[in-house]
């Protein structure tokens, strides 16, 4: 597999980030782990935004990934991290393959509201499920990796290195996807669906593949979130959680695969400090941040880099 310059940079940043984790304080390692897990879900939102669809329900697959990991440990005694994550992704893919049959019939606000409806149905089911801890959720068992059990102090750093490695690989794959025929076809559908149909391509099939792939990526984020936080609850499927993913997607923009990662880290930092400074009205700071981004950088943070690149080219 030959890597492009962009892909080498993405992997290089991942290596640097993983190395930085070794010397970083534990609170920062945890914050970055959570941010990267959320960034994976945001990648799913961005994949659909590139096809012209806004989802207010990506929390559905985030939650499925998290609960599949938690339940596999709790009920099946599975602790291997790779297996747990695969189960989470597999569960989301199966659900997305079913829901996608309906979802890909809808566009614009109807798609957005239907995605929200499905995530809220899951939220409602989980809240009423006492076996799964109802509104409190339940704790996730400690993970192992191919038989190796990290010591309690090592687990956060080890998980951080694993999620950074996964993020690097995911970034390369999504970068390739965005430039592939399927990725470009998503952009074409956003621009002119009728034309795509008259070129002999099925927009529904392309959107279906994209929907399932986005669900898989988001479920991976949910799985990592469950393993990192060690706890899952129905809030993962709540509409505010899904709204947060849209918020981060808008913050970063859709122009590059790195944008959701940068935006998720920035969001985590802003939120952490906002809560520290204004514990009762931190949401206001986030609101003003988004307002500033929409007014001054309507194409998201990544437009800062593209503007810089344009200036350098000129």
């Amino acid at each position: 597999m030959r890597l492009s310059k962009t892909e080498l940079i993405l992997l290089g940043v991942a290596v640097l980030l993983a190395a930085g984790g070794v010397i970083a304080p534990q609170w920062l390692v945890f914050l970055l782990t959570m941010a990267l897990a959320k960034a994976m879900v945001v990648q799913g939102v961005v994949m659909q935004m590139r096809a012209g669809l806004v989802t207010f329900g990506q929390g559905l697959f985030f939650c499925i990934g998290g609960y599949a990991v938690g339940m596999s440990g709790h009920f099946l005694n599975i602790t291997d991290l790779v297996l747990l994550l695969l189960i989470g992704v597999g569960a989301a893919v199966l659900l997305a393959m079913l829901l996608g049959l309906l979802m890909t019939r809808y566009r614009e606000i109807f798609f957005a509201m239907l995605s929200l409806a499905f995530s809220m149905i899951l939220y409602g089911v989980l809240v009423k499920s006492s076996a799964l801890g109802s509104t409190d959720g339940f704790n996730v068992k400690a993970w192992t990796l191919f038989g190796w059990t990290p010591a309690s102090g090592q687990a956060p750093l080890a998980l951080f290195i694993i999620i950074v490695a996964c993020s690097g690989l995911l970034a390369v794959l999504l970068h390739r996807y965005s430039r592939s025929s399927a990725g470009m076809m998503c952009e074409a559908i956003r621009e002119n669906e009728v034309r795509v149909e008259y070129l002999g391509q099925s927009p529904r099939w392309v959107l279906y593949m994209n929907y399932v792939a986005a669900a898989a990526v988001s479920a991976l984020g949910g799985g990592f979130m469950a393993l990192s936080a060690g706890h899952i609850d129905p809030e993962m499927a709540y509409w505010i959680t899904s709204g947060e993913f849209v918020f981060i997607a808008l913050l970063g923009g859709t122009a590059h695969v790195a944008a959701p990662f940068i935006a998720a880290v920035l969001f985590a930092v802003v939120r952490t400090y906002a809560i520290e400074w204004m514990p009762h009205s931190w949401q206001m700071i986030l609101g003003f941040t988004l307002l500033a981004i929409i007014v001054f950088l309507p194409k998201g943070l990544w437009s800062l880099f593209t503007a810089q690149a344009r200036r350098a080219k000129a």
């Binding site: 025929s181 391509q201 792939a213």
Partner: protein, 256 residues
């Protein structure tokens, strides 16, 4: 001559409005057929039914002897019948080359690749070749929003032609193009379609354009085919002159 497209008793009703009434047409391979008619005559309804955008209320459509009733537009495109649009249907945020690459990619497979790059040497070569055929290579890397209307029309037709269709339906290829550019645009289009040996059916309002390029005319009025035949015979038909072209000396009166 072999019949490529045949409609039998084609009807389309929108509630109480009849947009197509018992349309019986046979188009033969290699023909260049002009479709004329005033606004609301049923020309676009006919094109939309034939290309699968609208389902006929009654009747049959045969393409190469096979019924295409109920097939999707993409299935009909894949069967070999492509179309262009009255308003060029392009991907506005993309460059001219990317528009054509998407068309090439779509023509190659109904299942687009998830990881292989869309921009590869063979696709770029194919896109460059069609740009050269239409003599619009200089616009290759320009966003389509920045190219002139006439060039947009050519890109629209190039995208339809890229899948090597047997038949091409052009919906008002010169609409929105200045009178001075019309002839040059149609000369280019007809030169390229002749090279590709495509059967052409095109809707047009400009009778000078129709006379210049077609071997046969279908005149529509109120959802029906009013006349069908050689250009001079159809255009001198008193009913066509009364209901479609606006009288025997309409073009002379317009010129005055």
């Amino acid at each position: 001559m072999t019949c490529i497209l045949e409609t039998q008793g084609l009807c389309k009703e929108f509630g109480a409005v009849t947009a197509a009434k018992d349309v019986n047409v046979r188009i033969h391979k290699g023909e260049v057929v002009g479709v004329i008619g005033s606004n609301g005559a049923g020309k676009t309804t006919f094109i939309n039914m034939v290309t699968g955008y609208l389902k006929p209320s009654r009747g049959e459509i045969l393409f190469n002897g096979q019924s295409i009733i109920g097939r999707t537009p993409r299935a009909i495109t894949r069967a070999g019948m492509a179309r262009s649009f009255q308003v060029a249907q392009l991907f506005a945020q993309l460059s001219v080359l990317d528009n054509l690459l998407i068309a090439v990619s779509a023509a190659q497979s109904p299942f687009p690749s998830l990881l292989a790059p869309m921009r590869n040497a063979s696709r770029i070569e194919q896109a460059d070749a069609i740009l050269a055929e239409f003599d619009i290579s200089r616009w290759r890397d320009t966003p389509v929003t920045a190219v002139p209307q006439g060039v947009r029309k050519l890109i629209d037709i190039a995208m339809a032609l890229i899948g090597d269709p047997q038949m091409l339906l052009l919906d008002e290829p010169t609409s929105g193009v200045s009178a001075e550019e019309k002839t040059a645009l149609m000369d280019t289009v007809m030169r390229v379609v002749a090279q590709h040996q495509v059967t052409v059916l095109f809707v047009e309002h400009d009778m000078d354009v129709v006379r210049r390029y077609v071997s046969r005319i279908l005149a529509f009025y109120s959802g029906e085919v009013l006349a069908d035949g050689a250009p001079e015979a159809v255009l001198s038909n008193p009913r066509v002159q009364e209901f479609v072209t606006g009288g025997p000396n309409a073009h002379k009166r317009a010129a005055q």
